[in-house]
């Protein structure tokens, strides 16, 4: 009996593979190293976030008296997302408009028209986005109730965040669509008409006798050539060269 037990135990040991003495394969070794490196990187990143960015950068800013006053006043703001999104767009548009107006290689009129177009897009987008958000506020409210009721099975913290984010997401979507898609498409013809009327009112050299294609020399043509070259070009008669592609399509 004793012998049988020992034999079976030996058999078990003999048949069970042992990984202790074996070296891991190259793939496993590489994967393990990769995992360790990823963990270290992640830890370093988290450390950077908590101890550098949060503790040394953001916290000192928020702990100032000015920030405290600003936070107090922010209690009156109900729609921080919309205002911040608008502010971002105003700054960005300002940057581009400024670059356009100060571009030495651009004709002054062209620069003004381009800047006007940028301004129009901004104004229309902002007014449109606020109007749409205002008019669908009740609908969003109802949908957010439904959203909350349908997702009751989620943990309360997650649901609270998502419920809070529902209306924010709707507003951001409206802003993105207005600024990125609807307004630019709508404003272009308006800007074109304004620029047309501006140009018609302004005295233009050698206007008469120009072929239609030449008259359509686009803003690009004006914009892309150095200002110094303009008088030289102006002396040459309008060739029968086809206008650039966009002008042709008009």
């Amino acid at each position: 009996m004793m012998n049988i037990t020992s034999i079976s135990a030996n058999n078990y040991q003999a048949q069970t593979p042992s990984f202790k003495s074996q070296k891991p394969s190259t793939f496993i070794s590489l994967a393990a190293r990769g995992m360790t490196a990823a963990k270290k990187t992640n830890n370093a990143y988290n450390n950077f976030i908590e101890n550098v960015l949060a503790k040394r950068v953001l916290a000192p800013i928020l702990n100032t008296k000015f920030a405290g006053k600003l936070i107090d006043k922010s209690a009156k703001v109900n729609d921080m997302t919309s205002y911040m999104s608008t502010a971002g767009s105003v700054v960005t548009t300002g940057v581009y408009a400024n670059r356009t107006l100060n571009n030495k290689n651009l004709d002054k009129k062209a620069a003004k028209t381009l800047a006007l177009n940028q301004g129009l897009v901004l104004v229309l987008s902002t007014v449109g986005a606020f109007t749409i958000n205002d008019s669908i506020a009740k609908f969003t409210k109802k949908m957010s109730y439904k959203f909350r009721d349908l997702n009751k099975d989620l943990p309360s913290k997650v649901l609270e965040k998502r419920f809070q984010g529902f209306s924010i997401a709707q507003k951001l979507l409206t802003f993105s669509l207005m600024y990125r898609y609807i307004s630019p498409v709508l404003v272009t013809p308006i800007a074109s008409k304004i620029s047309k009327s501006l140009n018609n009112n302004a005295p233009v050299a050698a206007k008469a006798g120009q072929p239609a294609a030449a008259a359509k020399a686009t803003v690009t043509a004006v914009a892309s050539q150095p200002a110094a070259k303009a008088p030289v070009v102006a002396q040459t008669p309008a060739p029968a060269t086809p206008a650039p592609a966009p002008a042709k399509k008009a």
């Binding site: 960015l53 987008s125 600024y179 990125r180 004006v222 070259k229 070009v233």
Partner: protein, 335 residues
Amino acid sequence: MINKLPSSIMHPYSLLNATAPETKGLTAKFLKNKTVGQICETAAKNPVVCQSVFSLAVCCFARPITNMFTTPDKKDASYASCHSISSGAIGFLWSLALSTPISMAMGAMLKKPQKYFKPSLIKKLYPSVGVIKDAKTGAEKLMTDAKGHLLRQNGTLLSRNIEPLKVEADKAAEFLKKHPDLTIDKHGVVRSTTVFQTEHGKDLKKEGKKIGCALQKSDMTPITEEVELGIKKEQNMASFMNWIPDIILAPPRAALTIAMIPWLLKNVFGMEKTKKGGDKKPETQATPVAAANTAKPVATATQPTTATTVAKPVQKIQLASIKPAQVSNNAKGGV
């Protein structure tokens, strides 16, 4: 219109008290969708990234589709589409790289505010937090338990979750027996009979009666106006900190977009604007107003052009010739 806006915006905390009718069909499917949920969560945590995701979707789908349908020249359309995709991608990557760390840092700070913020700031955000004054120095210290959790003035754990307590209709009678000093409204929300809801310090009334404050689900503490304002301040602060770097760093982002788009078009999409005859055409000629709306003005001016050979003695601007589809792919906000 804009002035009316604040009044029309829903109050996130009062919303918690209401209930919605049963929803079925596509709307229910949409609202239950996991992606929709995740987008909402991202919008709450990191609105900047959320907006850039929407912009990316517009730039990658809406604009290219519009271009394809409205531009007769398919080469021009595909060029404009690639331009749009590049612009959206740069905006998204920029926001992701910039806002994610800030959003994470804000999350860490709001998780343990006592570790990062001064007591005065914490008191603004959580007015019911307990504060002890040092008898010798007069300095304020926050009340915390052994684990470092914030406490109320009465020594109970401070809960920052203002989800209201609700009781189902069949359990209402039993609940009221245990808590005779409370009431339950028609939505099942438990309300105090001693602490009342206020707005700007004045009592709110419904049918001539004062409305009792809803109670926090976690510890049945009344959700007063002060508490709501504190949470609102906290959310606005997080939102503000998330947006401000994005706004301040808009100029370098614009410069990056200007610099990167031609490179992306050439090296990622293999696109170079060519004339119909097959010769290379300067990129700038494709979208004149595009130039107005985006980074293009600078790119336009600096790139070599055939304009000298084509240009007429006309100093006119003919934007009427531009089609909406060609309107620029802007870096952000219609510019």
